[in-house]
């Protein structure tokens, strides 16, 4: 069946769902969906959507009939129903008498129960267990040795510069928003951080400060406040704030280990975890450390930022839409900006082969180290 555009696909999907496709085309359509999982997902979503439409319509009809029947019934009853006065039953009078003491007993019981639960650390466990969403920052303890070796190496190279002897607690990814040093990453990466360092592919490390956080969108804007940092001439990528289409070919670069790692896949849903509309669902292999990595489309537009994935579900990762990043930028009060925020509008990646794109943009993606 080869390729087809969205309109043709949905036209076929409609005919398929209504059972109007001739047998041969039906088989072809089914095998096309089987071969293209992103289209299969779209078909499923379309089917659910149409079902929802039908159910909504039937339910509306029912509600109308119901409202009519109710009106007729109450009219026919007129005012015949009397208001039955409340009787003070023995149960209620007993309640009046023991109200005060039982309230005290209840309060004590509640404190005892929740106090014990809290002391035993039940809630912290509960929080961990009750969500199948996992944020993708990397716990550095499991790569302690690696980091130690790095630190030693860095120390040897330039003794004068301040090199941290403590190992970083978490690692993740971040990327440049503007040439003058604004970098975006996830809020969960930097929350509770003592200090934050950004390290680029060449191994140069800069200290960064947090200028803005938005916990609800899981975004943090950092600013590189380091004398050694040289402003870039221009960013190679642009930011796409309009919604991208399902099935779009996308890729990301992140730091799940100490080297940049490339991953590619497709946009699988226009909403994120549990229907979250500020995020996309994407099908790209991601691991702890990928958090904060840019999600780019084939033309080199940033369409989102990786934030997490769903446990126990294959290939369900989530990326916060670029629009939210732009909103977060706009939310920064102007007096906390040390430089103006200029968003790049010139794309230097479109039309280049993927490997060339990656070479060009690699320098603008940082490993975020949190201490």
């Amino acid at each position: 069946m080869g390729t087809m555009n969205q309109k043709e696909f949905f036209e076929l999907a409609d005919q398929y769902l209504r059972g109007e496709l001739p047998a041969a085309e039906k088989v072809a359509f089914e095998s096309f969906c089987a071969e293209n999982p992103s289209y299969a997902a779209q078909l499923q979503q379309h089917r659910d959507f149409v079902t929802n439409m039908k159910e909504t319509s039937q339910r509306l009809d029912f509600k109308n009939v119901l409202a009519n029947s109710a009106k007729e019934y109450h009219k026919s009853q007129g005012t015949t129903t009397k208001v039955v006065p409340m009787k003070q039953s023995t149960v209620i009078s007993l309640w009046e008498r023991i109200k005060a003491s039982s309230l005290v007993a209840a309060v004590v019981a509640v404190f005892a129960v929740f106090g014990t639960l809290w002391l035993s650390g039940y809630y912290s466990n509960l929080e961990k267990a009750s969500s199948d969403y996992s944020a993708l920052r990397r716990d550095m303890n499991n790569v302690k040795k690696n980091v130690n070796a790095h630190n030693a190496a860095i120390k040897d190279i330039n003794d004068k510069k301040s090199v941290k002897s403590s190992e970083s607690q978490f690692g993740a990814t971040g990327f440049m928003l503007t040439t003058d040093g604004y970098v975006v990453t996830n809020y969960h990466v930097i929350s509770g951080a003592d200090s934050i360092y950004l390290q680029n592919g060449k191994g140069e490390s800069y200290k960064a400060q947090v200028v803005h956080t938005d916990a609800s969108k899981d975004l943090a804007i950092l600013y590189i406040a380091d004398k050694n940092f040289k402003k870039a001439k221009s960013l190679p990528y642009t930011f796409k704030t309009s919604t991208s289409d399902l099935g779009e070919d996308i890729y990301t670069i992140g730091f799940p280990r100490d080297e940049a790692v490339y991953g590619q896949g497709y946009l699988s849903s226009s909403t994120g975890y549990a229907g979250d509309t500020i995020a996309y669902q994407i099908s790209v292999p991601v691991n702890p450390g990928n958090s904060g990595g840019p999600v780019l489309d084939s033309k080199g537009n940033v369409i989102g930022i990786i934030s997490g994935k769903q446990r126990g579900i294959d290939g369900a990762a989530f990326a916060i839409k670029t629009k939210s990043i732009m909103n977060a930028l706009a939310d920064i009060p102007s007096d906390s900006l040390t430089a103006g925020v200029k968003i790049n509008r010139k794309n230097a990646l479109a039309g280049l082969p993927r490997t060339e794109q990656i070479k060009k943009l690699q320098d603008y993606i940082y490993m975020v180290k949190v201490y």
Binding site: K7, R18, T56, V65, M86
Partner: protein, 190 residues
Amino acid sequence: MSKFSKSVLLENDEQIIEGLKKGNSLAIDSIYKRYYPSISHMILQNNGSEDEAKDIFQEAVIVLYDKVAKGDFELSSKLKTYLYSICRRLWLKQLNRAGFGNSDISGYEDSLFEEEDLQQHQELEKKFDQMELALEKMGEPCKTILHDFYILNHSMQDICEKFGYTNTDNAKTQKYKCLQRLKKIFFSTD
């Protein structure tokens, strides 16, 4: 139809459920005549007003409809008991919201309609409201085109003629655009 139903009542639970599924007004009338008085009594006995009783009962019938419309509903008790249980749960919720704390309504058959069912109902309500709103927002002719095609199962040929498109391809394009717009509205409302 309504004149006729004044004299006839569906007697048996299965008939009522079957009728409800089809949105039959006879079934709804029967439900009202047979069960409303006892439920209105329960609510009036428990700090409720006549109007509140009407609202609760109406909502309970919608809950019942949602269950029945899903197709796999099986009545595990008398319909009267089940409806009573739904109303009781809905009313308890409302009392709690109004700050009556742990109001206890003389209860029997507690397990028929649980807190869980109530939550399910609220989620369902939200889902349908969202779609209703999206359809409302869309305006004409999109609303009618989609309704004709997806709900009434009209052919594209019919729709093409009804709306005066020059050929079915144009109508199909229009339908596709309408659908995309509806999806956009639907998925962008919280």
